[in-house]
């Protein structure tokens, strides 16, 4: 879904490489669409990391979700028709502080007793660069569904697997999770490394 599919990028990217040495790795990793097309399952080696900034700086709240599942399909002919669906189990949240984890699972935040999953289903995928894309979709948490947007960068690829970095800023308040504001930011910053294994 992030793949270079139109002919021009190779020439543009080569010119880009000349001035941006850092871009060379990602470009080199970008596969042809036909090679990468297919169905993938999201593996447990993926990392779903999040941070919530706190007022006055400091670490805020940072953690990972240990349990999740999902799949994506990279369309052979049109990246824009690629899809992704993802399910997160918020009860698996880990922050290194049990009291924070219990609070996040409680009725104050995820309310895992009543809402065991957070889901995302893409509705639109748009390639934004040789190895980047924007994914729009419906995020459902605590019974509220909203359109959210994530930016995707291709990290690594081979014939059997593919890895992306996915980032997105999600506002908590529309989902009824605005507890702790303004001490803690209303924005949750997601920084996820998603690994897909070809099915």
């Amino acid at each position: 879904m992030t793949l270079r599919l139109q002919p021009p990028p190779r020439a543009i990217a080569l010119a880009f490489l000349a001035v941006m040495p850092g871009a060379s790795l990602t470009f080199a990793a970008a596969p042809d669409l036909a090679d990468a097309a297919g169905n993938y399952g999201i593996t447990s080696a993926s990392r779903i990391h999040f941070t919530v900034a706190q007022t006055g700086g400091g670490g805020g709240i940072a953690g990972d979700f240990g349990k999740f599942s999902g799949s994506f399909r990279i369309d052979r002919n049109d990246v824009g028709r690629s899809t992704v669906e993802f399910t997160l189990y918020p009860a698996s949240v880990k922050t290194g502080e049990k009291r924070v984890e219990d609070f996040l699972k409680s009725s104050a935040v995820f309310d895992t007793a009543n809402y065991s999953t957070v889901t995302f289903r893409s509705t639109n995928v748009k390639q934004t660069g040789p190895d980047t894309a924007a994914v729009e979709g419906t995020l459902t948490a605590r019974g509220t569904s909203r359109k959210e947007r994530f930016s995707v960068t291709l990290l690594d690829w081979n014939r059997g697997s593919i890895a992306f970095n996915i980032r997105g800023n999600i506002h908590r308040s529309p989902y009824g999770m605005d507890v702790g504001t303004p001490i803690y930011s209303n924005v949750v910053e997601f920084d996820m490394n998603i690994k897909g294994q070809r099915r």
């Binding site: 007022t55 006055g56 409680s106 104050a108």
Partner: protein, 206 residues
């Protein structure tokens, strides 16, 4: 009217006394509810932040009260108190002033050593920095115990202090309670006594 004199309290002392009293009672109630009553976790978080902001307010006022206690004149104790009763009264007052400082300081230490590292955002207005103390679970547990123990001790002294005031008012029928209610009370009483006493009534006013 603002300053104390030998007969009674001025308004500065009276307002500080009752403001601190109300805040301390509110803090004790908040502390009990947020720690001992099963409540909604979001509400509990909010109560903790109110408790911290009110606690810093109490600390600031208690510091002013302590300074005022040191520099300001103390009214004479009512006549007829034994030396032991006088001593008990003044020790209680010093302990109350000391605990009014120590309890919020220990609370500040809890917030400062807590591994939760939640900023103290004073009434969502500005951040009060943590004390320079190492964060660890044992340190947080220790200061929590100190904070709680001193708070219950303060509650005991507040109860003793209030009962003593009621004893003075209803059993001894002196002006110990009344003079903490109004700065003018003792002056009115004194002027009534002066007009009734031909010797005092004949004196010139200072």
């Amino acid at each position: 009217m603002l300053r104390n004199d030998r007969a009674g309290f001025g308004w500065v002392t009276i307002v500080l006394h009752w403001t601190i009293a109300v805040i301390i009672l509110a803090l004790l109630a908040l502390g009990f509810i947020m720690r001992r009553v099963p409540i909604d976790p979001a509400l509990q978080f909010s109560l903790y932040q109110w408790h911290k902001s009110l606690g810093f307010t109490a600390l600031g006022l208690a510091a002013i009260r302590a300074l005022w206690h040191v520099i300001e004149l103390r009214p004479q104790p009512p006549a007829g108190l034994s030396p032991l009763e006088q001593r008990a009264g003044s020790v209680t007052h010093i302990v109350l002033i000391g605990l009014a400082l120590a309890v919020p300081l220990a609370g500040w230490a809890v917030a400062s050593t807590s591994t939760l590292n939640i900023p103290s955002f004073y009434f969502n207005w500005f951040i009060i920095p943590h004390l320079p103390m190492a964060k660890s679970a044992p340190a947080e547990d220790f200061w929590t115990l100190v904070h709680m123990t001193l708070a219950y001790l303060l509650l005991a002294f507040v109860a003793f202090h209030a009962l003593a005031a009621l004893y003075h008012h209803f059993a001894r029928r002196d002006d110990v309670l009344v003079r903490m209610l109004s700065a003018g009370s003792h002056r009115r009483k004194r002027s009534q006594a002066a007009s009734a006493d031909p010797v005092i009534a004949g004196r010139k006013k200072p």
